[in-house]
Symmetry: C2
Subunit: 412 residues, 2 copies
């Protein structure tokens, strides 16, 4: 097919997911390629939040905990996420933030492997996971170690010293995808536990934690799940571990009978043990609408479109922007690439600022990486064409050299 | 003044806080006496959330982190809460839940007192704080102990063995108020650190952590601060401790330079070190509106009205309900009573259910306590009169004997 805009419009016309775009509110004239950082707003989220605010909070007040089901939101939404990640509905919970959830699970994992002292992670991972592990090890003061390896020889580091491997399935910068089955199997062969970070996986590609026999997982609600800014995170713990160890943030929501107000802590024996305190209900309500929509979409179609959008982005960059010094840092091979494409460029920061001013929104990750998220529920094929033409225009016209783009600030 | 309804209406007419009630949306025909569990909705919260959703999320998307100030919400709202609790504006942060914040501060406190092994708490405290301390001690596995004492001889237990005293200023059941200055001073004399739980204090009575020289504090956003269901909690850490110890949930928001994506954790030296991950922005937005309103009210007037409402509630119960077996468990003396009155009754659960059906909303705390919250920004004097007449009607007509009220569920 020729690389002309009409080709991309034709792809949009025949896209089986095309109706989903109308279910979002998107700003006019913007090409939004940052849904891997903050997903767009489902139209229905606005109505849901209005109901939560004007009826459930203002009118029903405290009775909403029972009558409007607020108590059940963490497990109810968790059970829905479970369907996206191949878990049982009683193995997933929505609560707290990704980092705090990882902390809970790593602490449990170390308890489950008392003779081992090493947490193995990827050094180039999104830093919060690594910082959380370092914080836990420092706090425990029992000679644990956070050991780092990189993708090229990661598996070789999975040795019988390792207590738990904690790995982000899709790399936040490059989009490289780890083989979940292979790494989990290797981890189990070494007698270690496996914890997956699904921040860039959930809602972006098919995930089957059950088939992989993964032990633990965490993930984020505000990226591909379109749950709204700072939406609470989720966690997964395989049922076989739930009565073998407890997580340390033992607030009353994790008690076996919270409303008995018992004197001493007694852990819930099910997934509720991973809770701690009361959750932000307004933010939970928004998150549920994003997940409900995602559950109506076919994940196979989402993945196919995501790979096609990425392939086209890369092909267009080769065709139109080859002379400008961009280096593709994402895999060329779609099957091992997540739902993003990333390029490094020495002037990446200023170029991204110029693109954002031209209403093409991706993001920048230090030191030199420009990241474009592809979110098949609302990213169109024509957006990919237009984005690359926009990049070409910024480079041709040297718009990135504007002195306003010289000072750094950043976005998550 | 005679105990007739007109007297109470007259108090409302001359109430200097009366205009605040119009700033809330309250359900028609309901007497809401549970603002100590979930505060009512400020009218402006609805508008703020609508802006957050329809403009900041839907239109401005990821750029809102900078352009709409999302990054600064935890410290900006924290600085506002600081004014309500006598802290410096760089000593308070809004983040996570009360229990998780307590966990962070207790972990810091134990690090600051490495030679001591005891956390001293009140055994009859709201259980989540005690459970959190028990979880920390169990996790650390270094021979720490959570020791419990009760009000009647609490101070005697503050000995040189104690690392940290963690105490809720206003008791969740009885409403008893501890003397913050006295307990903190005694704690410091024993060489220990003092952590106050302000869940039932912030927005309910004047608090001056600075004058008391308190070391740490936590508190909740959804009660007297009217921050909405599950609103994020706050924490306070005296500036003198901020570079002496670090909290253990070291997510990227607590890093000295989060967007440098450095390989290793390096703690922020200021209050941001107490953050962990991304916060729920919609819920934060609602919380800020509640606090902004509270800051416009005179805390001295709030406290005076709160004490008067409580005194009147107690006097009316003596006058009209003396024969029905209620026992006042709150202090009769207003100056040592928080912004609630509580009564025990063997049939307290069923009576509260009958009251709620009659649209008089308080709450129940196991095993037998009926709790009525007094929130001077929207509770009227006439509400106190009407509530007690309602209680009398439920007892006279034995409405609580309805079999529907025999099965227990509960609300937070």
């Amino acid at each position: 097919m020729p690389l002309i805009r009409e080709t991309f419009l034709a792809h949009d016309s025949s896209d089986p997911l095309r109706s989903f775009r109308d279910e979002f509110i998107l700003p006019d004239g913007v090409i939004y390629l940052d849904g891997n950082s903050l997903g767009a707003m489902p139209r229905v989220a606005r109505q849901r939040i209005e109901t939560l605010v004007s009826k459930e909070w203002a009118q029903d007040l405290i009775t909403s905990w029972n009558t409007n089901g607020w108590f059940d939101l963490p497990t109810r939404i968790g059970a829905k996420i479970a369907r996206l990640i191949g878990a049982r509905d009683d193995e997933v919970l929505v609560t707290d933030s990704t980092g705090i959830n990882l902390y809970k699970l790593l602490s449990m994992a170390l308890d489950l492997r008392p003779d081992r002292k090493v947490i193995l992670m990827e050094g180039s991972n999104f830093p919060t996971d690594n910082y959380i592990a370092q914080g836990l090890v420092r706090q425990l003061g029992r000679g644990h170690e956070v050991r780092f390896a990189e993708r090229d020889n990661f598996a070789a580091h999975i040795t019988p010293e390792i207590a738990v491997v904690a790995l982000t399935q899709v790399h936040y910068k490059t989009g490289h995808v780890y083989d979940m089955n292979e790494i989990t199997e290797r981890t189990h062969k070494a007698g270690a536990l496996m914890c997956w970070d699904l921040c860039h996986s959930a809602g972006a590609l098919p995930v089957d934690l059950g088939a992989a026999k993964a032990d633990f997982a965490v993930g984020c609600g505000y990226k591909y799940l379109n749950g709204g800014p700072g939406a609470p995170a989720f966690l997964y713990a395989a049922k076989r571990h739930l009565d073998k160890a407890i997580q340390p943030l033992t607030g009353w929501w994790s008690h076996d009978d919270p409303f008995a107000f018992e004197h001493d802590y007694r852990p819930a024996r099910d997934i509720r043990q991973l809770m701690s305190g009361t959750q932000p209900i307004l933010s939970l309500g928004a998150l549920e609408t994003g997940i409900d929509m995602m559950l109506r979409a076919d994940m196979t179609l989402i993945r196919e479109k995501s790979m096609a959008l990425g392939d086209m982005f890369i092909a267009l960059m080769s065709e139109y922007c080859a002379e400008y010094g961009f280096s593709l840092i994402s895999p060329k091979e779609a099957t091992i690439r997540g739902s993003q494409v990333a390029f490094s460029h020495p002037h990446g920061y200023a170029i991204m600022k110029a693109l954002i001013e031209a209403r093409i929104i991706g993001d920048f990750r230090a030191p030199d990486i420009m990241r474009f998220g592809l979110t098949p529920l609302y990213t169109r094929y024509q957006d990919v064409w237009d984005a690359v033409q926009g990049i070409k225009a910024v480079m041709d016209r040297k718009l990135w050299q504007n002195p306003r783009f010289a000072t750094r600030e950043s976005v998550t």
